[in-house]
């Protein structure tokens, strides 16, 4: 490095040569890959870029395959029909879409109040509050909780006590998986609300409940909604917790205008799991189409979450 600059220095104009007073080597201003730090920089930049591309490969290859194999079977029929019996032609998975939406919605009804209110507590707790520490730690552990164990829990808690597989049991299992995501993202969003806004409310004589309800939560709402959407998207794709809670059904969850939540319920994820393992072409095609629909559903929910997050920035 030093040699390189010294050797070049004598011939160059004074401003670019070595300045005897400062002791700092002057270099020419043009880019040069021969300069070691420029070279290392370019090398690392390209490594980072290629790793990023590599990380995108699974997503896009799966999407590519799903579109290639699932799109051709998409038609109005698959959305309106129930799954076919073996060797039967046609059919669809409308009941599974409805089942997934109902169970995820039910799980959200359970989780959103619990998660958001827990987040309010966590965000307002004193830094050394023991209970807050325990709750936060539990939530973090729950983030990595094996989803099949959530199913085991719901099986023990709901299926055994009610005596049947049901949409409610499935929703309980999903809500256990959604709870930590919602709690932790909502806590973050609430913490992002500037202290000065909280002070403003308290300075006007708002109680801490009024401050949380009318200032903190509305201000943090976009962030909280983003967290809810991410949790919903994750829950919609879960199979394991539904296998022995909601099980599967070949029928609609609602019949003759009656919604029965206490019966085995179909879901897209379990339908894909079941149909992917049978030797019938019709079922295999439906599994591909259902996989495509599921991915699109998750994509849409994520996009909504993104849109809400953007609104928060503005």
């Amino acid at each position: 490095m030093a040699q390189h600059a010294d050797a070049a220095a004598p011939a160059r104009v004074s401003g670019l040569s070595r300045d005897p007073l400062s002791g700092i080597e002057r270099q020419k201003l043009e880019h040069s890959l021969r300069r070691p730090r420029t070279f290392v920089n370019a090398l690392l930049s390209s490594v980072v870029a290629s790793m990023t591309l590599l990380a995108l490969v699974p997503l896009f290859s799966v999407l590519w395959m799903l579109i290639g194999r699932g799109a051709k079977r998409l038609s109005l029929e698959v959305f309106t029909q129930t799954p076919p019996a073996p060797l039967e032609a046609g059919g669809g998975f409308g009941n599974a879409i409805v089942g997934t939406l109902v169970m995820v919605g039910l799980a959200a009804l359970i989780t959103v109040p619990v998660g958001v209110l827990t987040a309010v507590f966590l965000s307002q707790a004193e830094p050394e509050d023991r209970l807050a520490h325990v709750v936060r730690f539990a939530a973090k552990v729950l983030t990595g909780f094996p989803s099949i164990l959530a199913g085991v829990f719901a099986y023990g808690a709901v299926v055994l006590s009610t005596g049947k597989f049901s949409a409610v049991a499935g929703a309980v299992a999903l809500s256990i998986l959604m709870l930590p995501t919602i709690t932790l993202t909502a806590e973050d969003a609430l913490r992002m609300v500037p202290t000065k806004m909280r002070e403003a409310a308290i300075g006007m004589g708002a109680t801490s409940t009024q401050t949380a309800w009318f200032v903190l939560l509305p201000t943090a709402l976009p962030g909280i909604a983003t967290g809810i959407m991410l949790a919903l998207a994750r829950a919609a794709g879960e199979t394991a917790p539904l296998l022995f809670t909601a099980l599967f059904s070949h029928y609609w969850i609602a019949s003759q205008g009656q919604l029965d939540l206490l019966q085995p319920t179909a879901s897209l994820a379990v339908l894909i799991y079941n149909f992917a393992a049978v030797p019938f072409d019709n079922q295999l095609e439906l599994a591909w189409a259902a996989a495509l629909v599921l991915v699109l559903l998750v994509l849409v929910v994520n996009l909504i979450g993104q849109a809400l997050a953007v609104r928060r920035v503005e």
Partner: protein, 279 residues
């Protein structure tokens, strides 16, 4: 002018500075010891705040002037480890008594902060928030307009009341915060360096506004700006911080009518501060 200065030149005990014959103070604040945890932040500060006057707190950074102001409506309760001995009597009642609800205190003694802090809601809702908190049953729209006129903001926002309060400029936001504070007609307004985030023109506007508001309200203001204190305040309290005994404890050095304090300061540290020898 000259005789006011004369009459005060003999006053030397700041804690007893309040002259007999003056109006009874709305808030009589006497801080013996104020701690944050084990840190003694303020000691021996006695400042009466007189009705329909503007009382300014001046002093170098870290002298505890904001801390004192935040004692007056129990905003310090939010800070962990806050301990207080002394009293803050609002209309004769010590607001630090156990039976007093700090939430109720803050509805009589409102606050405007250093950083403009409107809520992330519409201009209209920002102002009506306090009305709503207090269960105000009258004509809300009328009160909102009154408050916005009171904060001389009405003409600038009357056509966009339903736009976000955050869309306004800094100076407008601060006047919105003032409107929000006066909408519920508190008796006292505490202002914690309300102009330090504003440009000179917006600052002037707020100062003019303060002079108008004191007809109706009692104002206590913390300011870094000596000229501002001289322009608006009736009484001024000068706080100083002693670093001698290892800590940084603020205390009252001198309190009196603003003109007397500026023209004829009694204590050497007041003289030095006013002469700009330290900040």
């Amino acid at each position: 002018m000259q005789d006011i200065v004369q009459s005060y030149s003999g006053a030397d005990l700041p804690s007893e500075a309040f002259m007999p014959g003056e109006a009874e103070p709305v808030i009589d604040c006497k801080i013996d010891r104020l701690h944050y945890g084990s840190f003694l932040a303020v000691r021996d500060t006695h400042v009466p705040i007189v009705k329909n006057n503007i009382t300014a707190f001046i002093g170098p950074s870290g002298c505890g002037k904001s801390t004192v102001l935040r004692c007056l409506n129990r905003m310090n309760d939010l800070i962990r480890g806050f301990r207080f001995s002394g009293y803050v009597r609002y209309r004769g009642k010590d607001i630090y008594e156990r039976t007093v609800d700090p939430v109720a205190v803050r509805r009589y003694i409102g606050m405007v902060f250093q950083q403009p802090n409107p809520f992330a809601m519409s201009i209209y809702n920002n102002v009506s928030f306090g009305l709503w908190l207090n269960g105000f049953r009258g004509n809300r729209a009328e009160r909102v307009e009154q408050a916005l006129r009171g904060a001389s903001l009405w003409d600038e926002v009357k056509d966009k009341l339903h736009k976000s309060g955050l869309s306004l400029s800094g100076g407008q936001q601060q006047r919105l915060c003032i409107a929000r504070a006066i909408a519920t007609e508190p008796e006292v307004l505490l202002m914690d360096e309300p102009c330090s985030a504003l440009d000179p023109i917006a600052t002037r506007k707020i100062e003019e506004l303060m002079l108008e508001l004191k007809q109706k309200y009692t104002i206590a203001i913390v300011t870094h700006n000596l000229q501002q204190a001289a322009r608006v305040a009736d009484q001024t309290a000068f706080l100083y911080v002693d670093t001698s005994d290892a800590g940084r404890t603020g205390h009252l050095v001198e309190f009196g009518p603003t003109k007397a304090l500026f023209q004829n300061p009694q204590k050497p540290s007041t003289q030095q501060y006013i002469a700009g020898e330290f900040s």
